[in-house]
């Protein structure tokens, strides 16, 4: 009885975005590149944030981590992390959070590490900033962290320089830096994109272990829907600065409600497309001005487009249990007229 109650306890939301807007400097003033998105990351889960280039997925996670480029600003909405709105924090509070409770790993492992500093020292720096450990304890923790992320012979490898590591090992070292201060949220921004698929699988499995065993939550940012289908609990699909569909992975992949999600799945040879004679490609490209779109943002490329889509923007709404989609015809699975047929 009690067990059933515990199992059914509501899952805690670790991070919630409410109407997040990010603006980038343009030719005539700021223009919005992330246009009011809502998103939740649950405790001990991986959220796959998927989109093509220009979708705003990287801006979104950089806004969460507080590391937007100079000139790029959060211009609206809330970033709620464990109940606090991160936008209300002072700069100093914000800094201690980034790299402390929120760790982030990027694609380019060579740029993420200092080439003239030993790997161990770079991990230790994170411990120095975010923990009260003494020198000896820090050294021990560095070795422990390298072992945790699967670097063989961690005692001696801690003394190596980044160029002495392979790409996969550097990415592991970066994860060690990111989790050094025992964060609650780990963001991997295309962190495995440049790696071989064999090494990618190893790194993704490591992130899954960190989530399952150490209780982290993770946001896995990628352009590859096939990878998300393999490792994430929830998925959010971004297009032109908006979330067009989100929900539990199993549900979204077996029954996508937005034509863009369906098209992305079809275009991916890894998701059962390889047998086909032709891949169902998505015609055209993302609109260059994502801010001033009349009607549905995907209308210009949507194979299902109807007159209504050109005039009226569809709202992101819950169309099935926990599954949200922004298509006028989402209730019909993104096929206009499907319910009458």
């Amino acid at each position: 009885m009690t067990e059933a109650l515990v199992a059914k306890a509501p899952e805690t939301v670790r991070l919630a975005l409410k109407g997040l807007e990010v603006s980038v400097p343009g030719e005539d003033g700021m223009r919005r590149a992330v246009l009011g998105i809502d998103l939740e990351v649950r405790e001990r889960t991986i959220l796959g944030l998927v989109g093509e280039s220009g979708s705003g997925k990287s801006l979104t996670v950089r806004a969460i981590a507080g590391i937007l480029d100079p000139g790029v600003e959060v211009t609206g909405g809330e970033i709620e992390f464990e109940g606090d709105d991160l936008r209300r924090l002072t700069n100093a509070e914000r800094r201690s959070l980034s790299g402390g409770k929120i760790g982030i790993v990027f694609q380019d492992s060579m740029a993420g590490l200092n080439p003239v500093q030993r790997i161990g020292a770079q991990i230790e720096e994170s411990l120095l900033l975010h923990t009260d450990l003494g020198k000896r304890q820090r050294r021990e923790r560095v070795v422990e962290l390298l072992r945790r992320v699967g670097v063989p012979a961690p005692e001696s490898r801690a003394k190596a320089y980044p160029h002495e590591f392979s790409g996969g090992m550097r990415q592991r070292a970066l994860i060690a830096v990111a989790i050094a201060a025992s964060p609650e949220l780990l963001i991997a921004d295309e962190a495995t994109t440049a790696l071989d698929t064999t090494v990618q699988a190893q790194v993704v499995a490591l992130i899954r272990d960190l989530v399952d065993d150490d209780g982290l939550s993770a946001i896995f940012v990628t352009h590859d829907l096939a990878l998300v289908a393999e490792c994430a609990d929830d998925v959010a699909v971004m297009y032109a600065g908006r979330i067009v569909e989100r929900g539990p992975c199993d549900q979204v992949f077996t029954s996508p409600k937005h034509p863009y999600t369906r098209a992305l799945m079809g275009a991916n040879p890894g998701l059962g497309g390889a047998d086909r004679k032709r891949l169902p490609a998505i015609a055209g490209s993302v609109p260059s001005d994502v801010e001033h779109v009349v009607g549905c943002v995907f209308a210009s490329r949507c194979p299902m487009v109807e007159d209504r889509c050109l005039h009226e923007a569809p709202a992101l709404r819950e169309v099935a249990s926990n599954q949200w989609a922004a298509c006028h015809y989402a209730e019909e699975g993104g096929f206009p007229g499907a319910s009458q047929a």
């Binding site: 093509e52 698929t197 064999t198 699988a201 899954r208 096939a226 393999e230 992949f253």
Partner: protein
């Protein structure tokens, strides 16, 4: 079916300096492959397996140390430079990076005309050249006015279409694509893959399609060759390789291909291959794969397994002392 392009025991060693010592990096340690006319052979493998060196050697961008590159039965490596040039232009290449492979200071028209300037004897009539270029633009679905543009005005997908059109100017019979869609977004990648398949059908091209992405190769190719540390470890019809790989490395590579275990209960990719491939500067004794192989035995450290045909299965070859079962 007769082979259009055949590569036999192709070898290439680079001289490198490491720690003050000169050493040999064996990028191609005797590669054999064959492409039937009008078909696509996919080459897969991790970075450092020699697949790009293979492409560059076939294109004569690198000089092979030894071996044969046979086009329609004629070994190009045995020809004089002049004879080779007139034959080897029947092999053309599409490069990976649509940003750096087009000269940013030239208009698309001039980029498309370049192959003619390099081969002035091919089509001396300027009007005919203009016609060929215009037709190719149509073939790759680019509007004619793009000819007046510079590469910077084009999207990544459009640039790769230009790269493909340029490779077709001299009417090649063999097209070498080295990671030709890797830099593109999924939706654009699908467009370019479809285009390549259409062009192949229309022009009866033989294609060598190199990629690290097994699922892309599976979509494109009839046959697949798997490379590891400069060697071929398995060759077979694509469907057979994917359905029942024989080499443990092929199996591991397939397992790691994203999407093969979509929506699994553990929510984690299967990890069969651990670590990275060993350095080609210091390859293991015996079988190059033995240091990562779950099936390795003592024999594997002693004797390198030869690439041998599998009885009763046409085309199929595997280099392993203890291959997986043929099912």
């Amino acid at each position: 079916m007769p082979a259009k392009l055949e590569v036999t025991d192709l070898r290439k060693t680079f001289r490198v300096h490491e720690g003050g010592r000169r050493r040999g990096l064996q990028a191609l340690a005797g590669v054999d492959l064959s492409i039937a006319a009008g078909t696509t052979l996919g080459v897969v493998g991790e970075s450092g397996c020699g697949k790009s060196t293979l492409a560059r050697t076939i294109m004569f961008l690198e000089q092979a140390d030894s071996g044969k590159i046979t086009l329609d039965g004629v070994d190009l490596l045995s020809l004089s430079n002049r004879d080779r040039k007139s034959r080897s232009r029947r092999i053309q290449m599409v490069f990976q990076d649509p940003y750096s492979s087009l000269n940013s200071r030239l208009r698309i028209r001039d980029i498309m005309m370049e192959p003619f300037s390099a081969n002035p004897d091919i089509e001396p009539d300027p009007a005919a050249r203009t016609k060929i270029v215009a037709d190719l633009m149509e073939k790759v679905s680019l509007p004619q006015h793009v000819l007046d543009w510079y590469p910077s005005q084009l999207s990544g997908g459009q640039r790769q279409r230009v790269g493909i059109a340029r490779a077709l100017v001299l009417e090649p019979e063999v097209l070498v694509c080295d990671e030709a869609v890797s830099a593109l977004d999924v939706s654009v990648q699908a467009q370019v893959l479809n285009l390549l398949r259409d062009l192949q059908d229309e022009m009866n091209l033989s294609v060598l399609f190199i990629s690290h992405d097994v699922s892309v190769v599976e979509f494109m190719a009839q046959d697949i060759t798997v490379m590891y540390l400069g060697r071929v470890v398995e060759t077979a019809h694509a469907k057979e390789v994917v359905r029942a790989p024989l080499h443990p490395y092929t199996h591991g590579l397939l397992e790691a291909s994203p999407g093969r275990h979509a929506l699994n209960n553990e929510k984690r990719p299967r990890v069969e291959l651990r670590g990275d491939p060993p350095s080609p500067l210091d390859p293991p004794s015996g079988c190059p794969f033995r240091t990562r192989c779950p099936r390795a035995q003592d024999l594997c450290a002693e004797i390198p397994p030869p690439l041998a045909p599998i009885e009763g299965v046409p085309l199929r070859q595997v280099a392993c002392h203890f291959p997986l079962e043929v099912s």
